[in-house]
């Protein structure tokens, strides 16, 4: 298993100083640029620690939010491409459906791939609902735009002999011929996220790495939909390396200390839902069928435990979150057992996207969390034998 260290690079000092919305419309006067600089340097230091510990690195971006200062993830990628040595650099993600210019995306990502000497994993994402007011991209039809941007970027990265032309529904280019071209062939690996079974099946057909975020014991159905698509198209069962899962991690030698850290890391979940209500569901983000159910007051629970108990991921206790497979928390032995149990439930899950820092977890706690994990859990996870793909698929 590979493990990617992830933090949203939060501006947590204002998490208790807002007017009901941490995203989109929280005035940026609340951010002190000097403190923001200190925090960025701290987060880069922690990624350097992760690199030295043998962890991989995951980066993301959000916009206009105190939950995540990384609004231009290409900047973070650029710094880490030069400064880190071994870690793979996963961007999950790059919101290509929002971008005005996918040619620029292809150039940026190819440059990162070259500078990092082939360590880039390209995660293309739709983006959370709150991104649409910020980008002003129409949420209706965004996935059509996403797929055209995707097709264009791949074509730009894999065309080497002569410039090509593109006159699509959304994008128009002439003389496309990107310099530099990526070093990984034919292009850096493609990852994406979903919480939707139809999309999971489509991703399976493409064979991309599919990540689910905090989906806990609702994950298996998504993975199985992916497996169906993969087998239908590629005529073999997908290995565990095709699956990724974003979970919160808090580990310490003392269980009580681990749970204290778990509470702080769970601050990510507690803060992420603090958004002005209309921004949570822009028109067209969900299907009309899902929206019709919501209009009738019907919403399916998103998080539940292995034995089917529904929990609220934004307010649940540390124990609830552990039971729901959202937080992996305890001593190294406990965390290993929880993760392996989750992998078995998934039928194989080869990439842990580890939120090893969030919210108010201090630098010292974060370094300790990463170090204990890397030294005492990671070696055992690497040796762990995932369920056989064919057995799972059968």
């Amino acid at each position: 298993m590979r493990v990617y260290q992830f933090t949203e690079q939060p501006y947590y000092p204002v998490w208790n100083d807002h007017n009901g919305s941490l995203r989109v419309n929280l005035p940026n006067r609340k951010l002190d640029p000097k403190i923001a600089g200190d925090l960025f340097h701290r987060y880069y230091d922690e990624w350097m620690v992760a690199d030295e510990l043998g962890l991989d690195i995951m980066l993301n971006e959000h916009h206009q939010t105190a939950t995540c200062m990384s609004s231009t993830v290409i900047v973070t990628l650029a710094i880490l491409a030069r400064q880190t040595k071994k870690a793979r650099l996963l961007v999950l993600g790059y919101p290509i459906g929002h971008r005005p210019d996918p040619l620029r995306c292809a150039e940026e990502l190819s440059t990162i791939d070259v500078i990092s000497r082939g360590r880039l994993d390209m995660g293309f994402i739709k983006g959370v609902p709150y991104e649409f007011p910020a980008s002003n991209q129409n949420p209706v039809g965004v996935m059509d735009r996403f797929w055209e941007a995707h097709d264009f970027i791949i074509k730009a990265m894999t065309s080497h002999d002569e410039p090509f032309n593109w006159e699509g529904e959304y994008f128009h280019y002439r003389q496309v011929n990107i310099w530099p071209r990526p070093v990984q062939q034919p292009h850096p690996p493609i990852w994406t996220t979903t919480g939707n079974r139809n999309q999971a099946r489509l991703l399976g057909e493409k064979g991309y790495v599919m990540a689910t975020l905090g989906s806990g014991y609702a994950t298996r159905a998504l993975y199985d939909a992916y497996r169906q698509g993969y087998i239908a198209k590629l005529r073999s069962a997908p290995g565990a390396d095709r699956f990724a899962y974003l979970g919160l991690v808090a580990v310490a030698h003392d269980e009580a200390e681990a749970r204290r850290r778990g509470e702080l890391v769970a601050g990510y979940l507690r803060s992420s839902s603090i958004v002005h209500v209309p921004f949570r569901n822009p028109p067209g983000f969900l299907s009309v069928e899902d929206n019709a159910r919501m209009l009738k007051g019907q919403t399916a629970p998103r998080s539940f435990t292995k034995d089917g108990r529904v929990i609220d991921m934004h307010r649940g206790s540390v124990q609830d979150l552990i039971d729901a497979g959202i937080l992996f928390c305890g001593t190294p032995d406990q965390v290993y057992d929880q993760l392996v149990s989750f992998c078995a439930y998934c039928g194989g899950m080869g990439n842990l996207l580890m939120m090893g820092h969030a919210g108010f977890l201090s630098h010292e706690d974060t370094v300790s969390n990463l170090t204990i994990f890397a030294q005492e859990v990671l070696p055992r996870l690497r040796a762990y034998q995932q369920p056989a793909a064919e057995v799972t698929a059968a």
Binding site: N25, P133, N136, Q137, N138, P139, V140, G141, E169, H276, V277, P278, F279, P282, P283, G284, V288, E289, N291, A292, R293, L295, K296, G297
Partner: protein, 276 residues
């Protein structure tokens, strides 16, 4: 009102099947609905069908109307409706639009008003009036449903619905209407930057009807819109907001029909003579 009068039929234009409410007989009255759609039980429809042939289609993508791929602008819809009028061979049409429907009506009329006799624009969106940093129209997608109702209606309770009483079909239509509106109106927000300069092409008698309690877009916006069309009249309707056809259906229909009748008696020969 009897049940039969609430029946909805459909019509196929260019392989696109759209819902159509049709009732009454006489001169054609085309009602183009706003973003929230139109219910066949809306009292304004019977009032408008008095002595006339009322046609109230659901725009492509709204209600149960089909949506072909690539039809994603009001410009597209206006061409759809030009074909609609041609295929049904409607002439001397009194065209009425509310909100988004008025924008569609204006986009039709600037292309061709050959089949139109009169145009009624109620609480119309569609043009840019203020400077680039001044919003003409409140961002409805930054509002909760309660906030929207408070700004859109004179009586906000008219906009509320009880989730328990919604049928599956009603909920699906509401969800489709919301998505279809955003498809057309997200950006540029609720307007076509090109439209204002084209409105001078509208030379048929035009009435702007304005629910005066509309706080989604205000009366100044309506008056500026009205001023771009030569000879257009501006009237307000009290105790009504953005949807005057819902809050004051009888008064709405009375004003519309009075405008058309008075104008037919008074100005039509001269207008005809001047040609389109």
């Amino acid at each position: 009102m009897n049940v039969a009068s609430h029946q909805v039929s459909s019509v196929v234009i260019n392989d696109i099947r759209v819902e159509l409410i049709e009732r009454g007989a006489g001169k054609p009255v085309l009602f183009l609905h706003p973003g929230i759609g139109i219910s066949p039980s809306a009292p304004v429809l019977d009032a408008l069908a008095h002595g006339a042939r009322l046609l109230a289609p659901a725009h492509p993508g709204f209600g149960t109307s089909e949506l072909p791929k690539g039809m994603n602008t009001v410009d597209d819809l206006s061409y759809f409706y030009l074909d609609f009028l041609e295929q049904l061979d409607l002439r001397d049409i009194l065209a009425i639009g509310v909100g988004l429907g008025a924008w569609i009506a204006a986009e039709i009329a600037v292309k061709s008003s050959e089949r139109l006799s009169h145009l009624v624009m109620a609480n119309a969106i569609g043009i840019k009036v203020g400077d680039r940093e001044t919003r003409d129209i409140v961002d409805i997608w930054a509002l909760t449903p309660d906030e929207f109702n408070a700004l859109a209606y004179f009586d906000p309770s008219r906009g509320r619905h009880d989730p328990k009483n919604l049928t599956d079909a009603e909920a699906l239509a509401m969800a489709r209407n919301r998505e279809a509106t955003a498809r057309l109106c997200w950006s540029p927000y609720m307007h076509n930057p090109k439209l204002k300069a084209r409105l001078r092409r509208i030379r048929i008698p035009t009435l702007f009807l304005w629910g005066s309690a509309d706080r989604i877009l205000n009366e100044d916006y309506g008056r500026a819109y009205c001023a771009t069309i030569a000879g257009a009249r501006f009237e307000t309707i009290d105790r009504a907001g953005h949807f005057p056809h819902i809050e004051q259906p009888e008064e709405f229909a009375r004003r519309v029909l009075a405008f058309a009748d008075a104008d037919r008696q008074k100005t039509r020969p001269a207008r005809r003579a001047s040609g389109d």
